[in-house]
């Protein structure tokens, strides 16, 4: 089961953060079909947020067709967002860990790493043309 976290200073409302985290988990294969999402009670007991916030997030996910609520039991995943590229995640993650190790050795701090990644990512997306941007939106 996944565990949520909240970034109070991200400027993104809590309910959107929850939705994003569920989507991300689905994309990364951390959640597959049939898995149960944490109960509302457990989520608010950890995060100290309003139960209605969680309910709203779960309802939005249900509206998107990603999860379904079963009365008295819980909320379960009905569809994943992984595609064939899941298999490539493993090696890609290893490469990324290597790269991060090299960046640290070169003396980059967290901000520099994030800035380097963000600018390169943006430039690459712009450079890849319209089809690339559509793919980003779908993901």
């Amino acid at each position: 089961m996944i565990q949520f976290h909240l970034d109070a200073r991200s400027g993104v409302s809590p309910y959107l953060q929850l939705i994003q985290q569920v989507r991300q988990a689905l994309r990364l294969g951390l959640l597959s079909e049939g898995d149960q999402l944490p109960t509302v009670k457990d989520v608010v007991a950890l995060l100290a947020i309003n139960p209605n916030t969680v309910l709203k997030a779960y309802r939005e996910l249900e509206y998107e067709g990603l999860v379904a609520a079963r009365a008295g039991v819980g909320t379960f995943v009905t569809k994943t967002l992984t595609d064939g590229s899941l298999a490539a995640h493993g090696p890609l993650r290893v490469d990324l860990q290597d790269w991060l190790g090299r960046a640290r050795q070169a003396g980059l701090d967290d901000e520099s790493i994030e800035a380097l990644f963000a600018t390169t990512f943006r430039a690459a997306s712009a450079g890849n043309g319209p089809s690339a941007t559509i793919e980003e939106e779908v993901r």
């Binding site: 109070a8 809590p14 509302v40 009670k41 608010v44 007991a45 950890l46 995060l47 100290a48 947020i49 309003n50 139960p51 209605n52 916030t53 969680v54």
Partner: protein
């Protein structure tokens, strides 16, 4: 659904001073409601009127459709934790639970004991020896275990350290989710309430300034910045909550039911804390629409602390 707290023209006067005046509210059930305002604004007075510790001077208050403390059934519906979480210093934690069991027909002893052990409290310890956070948790346990329909909490976390505060709110939200409680909680800090409240009441200088669902409030308030303008020239359906002007620039907080599209000014959403602060400062200096354009308005930025 019956409103959790419904007041009409509610007022309370002590000798010459009105602690609360002309308070008309209808707080819906199923929400966590934050009652925010500076110290001395009348929050405790309003909550005391809601639980029947005080009788109103004018107006009426109804909690879940019943007059506060009018009968033992009404008392059973409301769980209350007063400011500074009073407890009996000479009684042990277990004694407090026994007291709850003897005084409340709907007492859930299993849940109470489970919560006490979850909190790590020693049942045989005298309650006077507990820390501030533990006292607040004990008082909350007492209020919850009587199985009320609404919890009314008067600044329960004001004097707690950040960890104790977080733990209290965690327990509060868990119980709210589990039993579908309505909660009315007061604080003088918006940051305490921002995480957990979906309904807000702003009380300043004994009057209600604004009240509503948090999402609706955030969606209907806009922060406008732009070149210096005359308030009298602004659209009629804009409700100007606060305005500050320098000789070149105006910053306005506007409430409008329709989305604001204005090419001359930058339109931004506003955070809950800033929204509440704007109402709190406006309460002491109401903004007039037809200000004399020749005199620079001195409200300035100190109004928006």
């Amino acid at each position: 659904m019956t409103a959790v707290l419904e007041t009409r023209g509610l007022g309370k006067r002590y000798r010459k001073r009105w602690a609360l005046s002309d308070c008309t509210l209808s707080v819906p059930a199923g929400h966590v409601t934050g009652l925010v305002g500076p110290n001395g604004a009348g929050k405790t007075t309003l909550l005391n009127l809601a639980v029947g510790l005080l009788a109103p001077t004018t107006g009426t208050a109804l909690v879940l459709g019943g007059e506060p403390a009018s009968s033992e059934e009404q008392l059973a519906k409301v769980g209350f934790v007063a400011q500074d979480a009073p407890i009996y210093a000479g009684l042990t934690v277990a004694d407090h639970l026994r007291m709850g069991a003897h005084m409340n027909p709907a007492w859930d002893a299993g849940a109470a004991e489970h919560r006490i052990s979850q909190l790590g409290l020693d049942p045989d310890q005298k309650a006077g020896k507990l820390s501030g956070g533990q006292r607040a948790q004990l008082a909350l346990t007492l209020a919850i275990a009587k199985r009320p329909e609404v919890l009314i909490l008067d600044e329960p976390i004001a004097s707690l350290d950040p960890l104790a505060r977080r733990e209290f709110l965690q327990m509060l939200m868990e119980v709210t989710a589990e039993h579908e409680l309505s909660v009315v909680m007061s604080s003088h800090l918006v940051s305490d309430l921002e995480r957990i409240c979906d309904y807000m009441i702003v009380l300043v200088a004994s009057r209600v300034q604004v009240t509503g669902e948090v999402d609706a409030l955030l969606g209907s308030h806009y922060q406008l910045t732009g070149p210096r303008c005359d308030p009298a020239t602004l659209p009629e359906d804009w409700q100007i909550i606060s305005a500050s002007h320098t000789d070149r620039q105006s910053t306005l907080l506007v409430r409008s039911d329709r989305p604001i599209v204005d090419s001359t000014m930058t339109v931004d959403q506003i955070g809950l804390e800033d929204l509440v602060l704007a109402y709190m400062s406006q309460a002491s200096r109401p903004v007039t629409r037809h200000a004399n354009p020749a005199s620079p308005d001195q409200s300035a930025l100190e109004a928006q602390r």
